[in-house]
C-alpha cells in the first residue's frame, strides 16, 4: 500500500467492506479523484481480503472533480453501489 497516502488520509476501508458485507453488493464502482487513482489496486486488494462475497469491482475510467461529477447513470450498467472518494455530498441548485 502507498504508505504516504494511507497514513495521511482516511480512506475508510473498514466502512467500505462493512457496507459491502451488510448490503451484499454484487457489483461496485470505485470513483476516485486523480490523486488517489494510483491506489485503486490496493483498495481492491483490501476489499478482496475483507469481504465475505467479494463483488465485481469496477474502477471509474473518467473524472472525479467533485460530488457534482458522480456518474449516476452507471446504475444502468448493473452497478449496485458507487464509492466516491474525496468529497462530501453536493447540494445542487437549479440555475446559476
Amino acid at each position: 500500500m502507498d504508505r504516504m497516502t494511507l497514513d495521511y488520509y482516511d480512506l475508510e476501508l473498514e466502512k467500505i467492506t462493512e457496507q459491502i458485507n451488510t448490503n451484499s453488493y454484487k457489483s461496485i464502482l470505485l470513483h476516485l479523484p486523480d490523486g488517489l487513482k494510483h491506489l485503486a489496486n490496493n483498495i481492491i486488494q483490501y476489499i478482496k481480503q475483507n469481504t465475505e462475497n467479494t463483488p465485481e469491482i469496477y474502477i471509474w475510467f473518467g473524472t472525479n472533480f467533485g460530488s457534482c461529477d458522480i456518474p449516476l447513470y452507471i446504475k444502468n450498467y448493473g452497478i449496485d453501489a458507487i464509492f466516491t472518494f474525496g468529497h462530501a455530498p453536493f447540494i445542487k441548485e437549479n440555475g446559476w
Partner: protein, 245 residues
C-alpha cells in the same frame, strides 16, 4: 443504486504555526483582522482549533455554509461567485484564510472577487507542506484579462455554442434553453451541445462556433481559458451582457 461518500479526511495532527498569525496580522494591519475561514473537506475538522487560536490572538473570524456545500466552512471549486458563499449582506472582511493544499480552492475565492472594487487577499496554509502563501487578485490577472476579452467577443459574435454537461450536479438544460431564446432575440444563432466533458479537442471539431457559453462548472470558463484559443464565457455573464445590449 447506493452512493457512499468517502471524505478522505486528513489524519495527521495539524499544528498551526505562529507565522500564520503573524502573516494574518501583517496582511490585514491597515484594516484590523477580520478573516473568513474555509477549507477543503480533507481539513475541515481542523478549523475549530484554528478558530480558537485566531480569536486568542485577537483575530476576528467569520465563516459560512456556501450554497452547494454540505458542511459549514467547506469550500468548493464552484464557489467562484460572491453570492455562492452565502454571507449576510454587508459582511466586511479583510482577508480570506484557506486551509488545504493546492490553489484550486483558494482561486475560487479570488474569482469570486473579480468584479469587486476592493478585493481582499487569500492567505493559505498547507498543513502537508506547512507552507503559508498570500494570493491576491494579481494571481488570476491573466485569466481575468482573457475572460474580459472573451466577453467583448461575445457581444459581436453571431454563432454561439452553448455547452450543457451530462454531469448530474452541473446539468443545467433549462437555463441553456433560456439563453438560446435570448440569443435569438438579439439575432444571434445558438447551437446546443451536450456531452460529458468540455474538452479542447472537441471544441476544435466545431470551427463555425464563434464563442462558447459554458453552463457546467464555472471554473471551465475561468481556469481553462488560458490554454484554449476559442472564447469561452459563463452563462450568467452571457445573460447579463445580453440584458445590457
Amino acid at each position: 443504486m447506493d452512493v457512499i461518500h468517502i471524505q478522505t479526511r486528513y489524519t495527521k495532527e495539524v499544528i498551526f504555526p505562529k507565522n500564520l498569525i503573524n502573516k494574518i496580522k501583517e496582511t490585514t494591519k491597515k484594516q484590523g483582522p477580520v478573516v473568513a475561514i474555509y477549507s477543503s473537506i480533507q481539513f475541515l475538522h481542523t478549523l475549530d482549533k484554528l478558530k480558537t487560536l485566531l480569536e486568542k490572538n485577537n483575530i476576528k473570524t467569520i465563516t459560512s455554509k456556501p450554497k452547494r456545500a454540505y458542511f459549514i466552512s467547506q469550500i468548493l471549486g464552484c464557489d467562484a461567485f460572491p453570492e455562492s458563499l452565502n454571507f449576510p449582506e454587508k459582511t466586511h472582511i479583510n482577508a480570506y484564510l484557506y486551509i488545504g493544499d493546492g490553489n484550486f480552492h483558494p482561486n475560487a475565492l479570488l474569482f469570486s472577487q473579480k468584479n469587486s472594487e476592493t478585493p481582499v487577499p487569500v492567505i493559505t496554509y498547507n498543513p502537508i507542506s506547512e507552507e503559508i502563501k498570500t494570493l491576491t487578485i494579481k494571481n488570476i490577472q491573466k485569466n481575468l484579462k482573457k475572460y474580459k476579452s472573451n466577453l467583448a467577443k461575445f457581444i459581436t459574435s453571431k454563432n454561439i455554442g452553448i455547452f450543457i454537461t451530462t454531469k448530474h450536479g452541473q446539468y443545467q438544460k433549462q437555463i441553456a434553453l433560456k439563453l438560446k431564446k435570448e440569443l435569438k432575440n438579439k439575432q444571434k444563432t445558438a447551437y446546443l451541445f451536450i456531452g460529458d466533458n468540455f474538452s479542447k479537442q472537441e471544441i476544435e471539431n466545431f470551427p463555425f462556433i464563434d464563442v462558447w457559453i459554458n453552463t457546467a462548472c464555472p471554473r471551465i470558463a475561468y481556469d481553462d481559458i488560458i490554454d484554449i484559443k476559442q472564447p469561452i464565457i459563463n452563462i450568467n455573464d452571457a445573460l447579463d451582457t445580453l440584458k445590457n445590449m
